[in-house]
Symmetry: C2
Subunit: 137 residues, 2 copies
C-alpha cells in the first residue's frame, strides 16, 4: 500500500502589510502574495496552498505569513521581504510539510524563519479529537 499523502499545508499571506515608509501600491504584502502564488503556480510545491488574508495583526513586522496544517503546529513569521523572501518561505514551508508535527529542528530552519518568528500555536483541533459529525446533534 502506498504511503498516505502528507497533510496539505495552507500558507496564509497578509495582503495588507505595508513596508515601513513605503506608500507604493500594490502594498508589500500584496506583492509578496503575488510572488508566492507565482512560485507555487510554477510547480514543485505540491500540497501547499497560498491564501491571501486581509490582516494577520502583525502590522509592526511586515511582511507577515502564517503556515497551518491539520495535526501540525501553526507558525507565524514576520519581517519578510516582498521582493526577496518568496523562495526562502517556500523552502521553509517545504521543510515544515515534511515533518509529522510541523516542528522543524531549529538549525534546519531558514534564517529568516529563525529571526522572524512571531508566534507558534499547538495543533488544533488536538490530534486525539475524533472526527464525529454526529457529536453536534
Amino acid at each position: 500500500m502506498a504511503e498516505p499523502a502528507p497533510e496539505p499545508v495552507t500558507l496564509y499571506v497578509c495582503a495588507t502589510c505595508r513596508a515601513a515608509g513605503d506608500t507604493a501600491e500594490p502594498r508589500a504584502g500584496a506583492r509578496l502574495l503575488a510572488a508566492l502564488q507565482d512560485a507555487v503556480g510554477a510547480g514543485g510545491h505540491a500540497g501547499i496552498t497560498v491564501a491571501g488574508v486581509e490582516c494577520l495583526s502583525v502590522c509592526k513586522r511586515p511582511c507577515t505569513v502564517a503556515v497551518a496544517s491539520q495535526g501540525r503546529w501553526t507558525y507565524v513569521y514576520g519581517d519578510l521581504d516582498a521582493a526577496e523572501s518568496a523562495r526562502t518561505i517556500l523552502e521553509g514551508v517545504g521543510l515544515y510539510a515534511s515533518t509529522p508535527d510541523g516542528i522543524v529542528p531549529w538549525k534546519a530552519r531558514p534564517q529568516e524563519f529563525r529571526k522572524g518568528v512571531v508566534a507558534r500555536i499547538p495543533p488544533f483541533p488536538p490530534l486525539a479529537a475524533p472526527c464525529l459529525p454526529d457529536a453536534a446533534e
Copy 2:
C-alpha cells in the same frame, strides 16, 4: 429543538514565559497558568479549556496566551501580567466564545487584548472542509 452548544474554546497559556528581570520560580507563565486554571475551576466559564504549553515563541512579550476554537480565528496575546490578567483574559475569551467567528468588535475587546495582540490566524481547517473520515483511506 435546543440551540446547538457553542464550539468549545481552548486557551493555551505559555508556561515557560519569564517576566523581564524576574528569576522567580515558578515562572510568570506558570503562575498565570495556575491563576487561569483556578479561575476556570471555580466555575462560570463553561466551554473554556485551559491548556499549558511549553512555548508559544513570543518570548519577548511575556506573559503570552493563544485562544483557538473550531471555525473561529485564532488570536495570540502578549504583555499579560501573571498576577493581574487572569480575570481580563477570561472576560475577553468569553466575548470571543460568544461570536460565530471569534472576531470581537475592536471597541468591545479588553484593553489588554487591544494593546497586547501579537497575531491572528484564520480558522483552520476552513469551514467549508467536510468532515470525511474516509478521505484518508
